[in-house]
């Protein structure tokens, strides 16, 4: 899939982020190859969400670079990073108040800057967007709640809407911030199936989660953060037995 010598889909090199005097991330480097599902784990406050915020341009890295297929996207405005091919979901669901599910799928449609089509009623001016939104609706099994206010839906469903909205922008890389937080096993399994399906559609995934069974079962490659420092990387089975990880992440269990 990813031939030798080809740049990885996403690469962070030596990313450091300080807030005032506090180092949230120190010299973090990681890679996501095309077609991979990669996880970042670590205790609370380890810098996982900060990493996401730097990748998506919400924060500016103090040092280091973010490369998308070899192109430097460090500190570009968020919307340009989305256009470049990276979408995300949020740890605390951030849906737009009083928008229906359908509207969530339309609002994030990719567009080429300023075009007249954006100013005309979507209903008849942009059949392509409607078609894509309808496809996404089907894919995520949201057809029945199409016209409901997204925020009024059950929690698990809201997560799906957020995921669907992220996919609407047609990303090549999807960042998921605790996609199954607060979900029961049944709901979490649904999300797991969706993630695998998305990967099969050619979307690479970088995710953060606390649910170890979920992460271990899904990811091919894991990075472990502790106090902003990358303390381990490897396949799930390597991580599971890594003494440094056991010490930091699982406390003094070992």
């Amino acid at each position: 899939m990813n031939g030798a010598g080809q740049a990885p889909l996403l690469a962070l090199s030596g990313v450091t982020k300080t807030f005032g005097g506090v180092r949230a991330l120190s010299d973090v480097s990681l890679e996501v190859l095309s077609g991979q599902i990669v996880g970042i784990i670590g205790p609370n406050g380890a810098g996982k969400t900060t990493t996401f915020n730097i990748i998506t341009g919400a924060y500016r890295a103090s040092k280091g670079e973010v490369l998308l297929e070899g192109n430097n996207i460090t500190a570009r405005p968020s919307y340009q990073i989305v256009w470049a091919g990276i979408s995300r979901t949020f740890q605390n669901i951030r849906l737009f108040a009083d928008m229906t599910v359908w509207e969530h799928l339309l609002v994030a449609q990719p567009h080429d800057g300023f075009s007249l089509r954006r100013l005309l009623p979507t209903h008849w001016a942009n059949p392509a967007a409607l078609h894509r939104a309808r496809e996404t609706l089907e894919f995520f099994g949201l057809g029945d709640v199409r016209d409901r206010i997204a925020r009024s839906l059950p929690y698990g469903m809201q997560r799906r809407v957020e995921l669907a909205r992220a996919i609407t922008a047609r990303p090549r890389l999807l960042l998921l911030d605790e996609p199954v937080a607060g979900m029961n096993h049944h709901e979490a399994d649904g999300i797991r199936q969706l993630i695998l399906k998305l990967r099969d559609e050619g979307i690479s995934i970088l995710l953060i989660d606390h649910d170890m069974t979920f992460v271990m079962g899904l990811c091919e490659q894991l990075y472990v953060l502790d106090f902003g420092v990358l303390i381990a990387k490897g396949r799930p089975d390597e991580i599971r037995t890594n003494p440094a990880v056991l010490d930091a992440y699982l406390g003094q269990v070992a």
Binding site: P77, V82, W83, A97, M99, A108, P121, H123, T168, A169
Partner: protein, 277 residues
Amino acid sequence: MSTYYAGLLADVGILLLGALSVYITLATGQLSLGNAGFMGIGAYLTSYLTVTVGIPLTPALVIAAVAAGIIGLIVGFPALRLKGIYLAMATLGFGEMVRSFFLNLDAMGGSGGFHGMHHISNDYIWSWAAAILLLVMILERSQIWLEMRAVCHDDTAAGLVGLNTTTIKVGAFGFAAAVAAIAGGLFAHHHVYIEPGNFNFERSIDFVLAVILGGSTVGPGALVGALLLVLLPEYLRFLAEWRFAAFGTLLIAMLLVRRQGILDRSLFRAFALRRPA
């Protein structure tokens, strides 16, 4: 129709445009208390163009709208850095700045005001008001309006789903300024006399009140609000000097019972759902 009611109707049309200008920026979550400033720019510029330069009103209005729109874009940029009450205060400052500018602009009469405009018909006023309302209602069904709503609700998340929040917010300011300028040009040619005091803080507040009263989430809310704001004090005339107190009471009661204003999106949805699918 008596001249009295004709006058009221003209007021409603002009207030509708002013209210729409507030509605447009409010749709992106930006409350402007200075739209009377843009209205003043429109009023003075159109009057200058029709009286001093001598061009017909319609092109003069278009030129004024474009000019005010550009000023709106310029004001929109610093406004990006401000939110909520801070933005409200800054726009208030802008409105007062424009008013005192015209107060000191002797070429346009200064505090003495400016006259010489020809009077326009209600039909002309309402053609503009209806056209702009229609334009806004069409825009409300477009991609850009969804994007404006997204920016209004959560501008960080909007950026992170791929929306250029800067152009959306600044663009809304420009468009709103253009609409307010048209309201100003029509006002000047309806009253055939303008003075800086016409475009004071109270005027800006009237625009905001109309939007809040009529409903701040749908364009036609501005129409309902403008109608109420002009007509209600008239219908309360039997209360004589107490009528503004009564109006204030009604306004508070209304906010307590129906905070979102008389019209809102769910009302429109309810009607839409009743249509056969």
